[in-house]
Symmetry: C2
Subunit: 250 residues, 2 copies
DNA sequence: TTTTATTTGTCCGTATGTATC
DNA sequence: GGATACATACGGACAAATAAA
């Protein structure tokens, strides 16, 4: 209504510093985590404990923790506490890129779960990537890759249906792309190229990767070829950028 | 104008399709861009012009443009106009990564502008990257890299102050990191490693890179070494993910 | 260098359709 | 059906940045 006096100069920031209280608390906590005061995986003191120590309201602490959670530094679990997220998993990109080996060597339990599959006619771009004729039959596999139960990446892979007609069944049996290709006589293969982009996570990927809205994903488009250089597999993987970094050694 | 009978009580959404007006306008514009009606880098008609042509309110057009901007297809500049983003620049990562050569071969005008510089004592992580003793004097250079006047990346580079005491002056003179190192006797160097992460752009980077809030940046942490393997330069570059993709050929 | 026009960004509104409880 | 919250669409005014005169 006309008479309603709106927003009487709400004090949004501390009058002196120009930085809000929750922001300063968030920065302090970030420094403490970066400085090793709180180790990865460790449980932070409860919200009430932090608030009491700093002499602020619990909700101010909550706002700070929400900021850190949105940035992927901590993870809040209702009824349990707030935990420092593990450091980023180093994911080497090179000629011999294999998910299971990478995660295995990092001392974590690897897992690749098939969450969808379909057949489609190869559109021009996909046909070019796999050196197939346009419209050729291809099989798509949607795989959610996790390490220690934490989702790492959501990957869409395509293979020629002529090459691997029973791809879905074979993958289900072994849960390994390497084993799938080996079953069809491709004992070894190598990564030909990888193109890396980044973007805010799509809604579906954000849900599957358990990401806060607006967080970034690393998008890796790759082509795998036989040792003779024949393309057999192309993948678009979306990595949770908060939990993974890609490493290139020259 | 008086006689123009404009859509009486324009339906909020298409009565049949269930798709809102701004969404349809966004889709139309997207098709026009994809179809080449508006070339990359070209300036779109002004909001008022588009609104007038379509017979809708300027704010509805703004909503459509905001959608396209959020997806990285266009970029709005206050006081100037809305521009179609160029396709992603392919940025090869390898042993011989040089910004000017990469952009040059893509047929664009490269530019590296020094926007800040400072001296600092190397903190542990930085000292390790450059194989220096902790607390050693290092020079930091903040460089904004552009191609055809469009910002591509914001990069922070560090060198040992003992190695390159006049780094700022030399860089200013040549606007090239290769020339800077050459001046100090390092005729050639190679990329030892690159670590790639991604995150939503920080406020300052977003402004410098002219990114909409929430858009992603690719973060590349790299170490350059002499041919003998001595670290001489380490850089943290933030690429505008909408305009660049990193390419790794194995 | 200064001025002016253009263009986008932001705020204030109003009315209405949609979804949910 | 009613109450409510929210998104859509429109209209207007002004601020802020830019570009051209």
């Amino acid at each position: 209504m006309a008479g309603v006096r709106r927003a009487v100069a709400r004090p949004r920031a501390a009058p002196d510093s120009g930085v809000t209280l929750w922001r300063r608390i968030a920065d302090d906590l970030e420094r403490a985590i970066a400085g090793g005061v709180h180790a990865a995986g460790e449980r932070l003191p409860g919200e009430i404990a932090i608030a009491g120590r700093l002499g602020v309201n619990r909700h101010t602490v909550r706002r700070a923790l929400a900021e850190l959670a949105a940035r992927g530094l901590v993870r809040s679990e209702r009824g349990s506490g707030t935990y420092v997220e593990a450091g980023r998993l180093a994911y080497p990109i090179g000629a011999r890129t294999r998910f299971s080996e990478i995660v295995g060597t990092a001392g974590r339990g690897a897992q690749g779960k098939l969450i969808a599959h379909w057949r489609e006619a190869a559109r021009p771009e996909l046909a070019a990537r796999l050196s197939l004729t346009e419209g050729a039959d291809v099989i798509g596999l949607e795989i959610l890759r996790s390490a220690d139960r934490v989702p790492i990446a959501c990957a869409t892979s395509w293979l020629s249906a002529a090459l691997a007609p029973e791809a879905v069944r074979i993958y289900r049996a072994h849960c390994s792309m390497t084993a799938l290709l080996a079953h069809y006589g491709i004992a070894d293969y190598r990564r030909q190229s990888t193109r890396i982009a980044a973007a805010p996570a799509e809604a579906l990927d954000a849900k599957r990767l358990r990401l806060a809205p607006g967080r970034a994903v690393l998008i890796a488009d790759s082509i795998d070829v036989t040792l003779a250089g024949v393309p057999v597999l192309t993948t678009r993987a979306r990595f949770a950028a908060d939990r993974v970094e890609l490493v290139i050694e020259s």
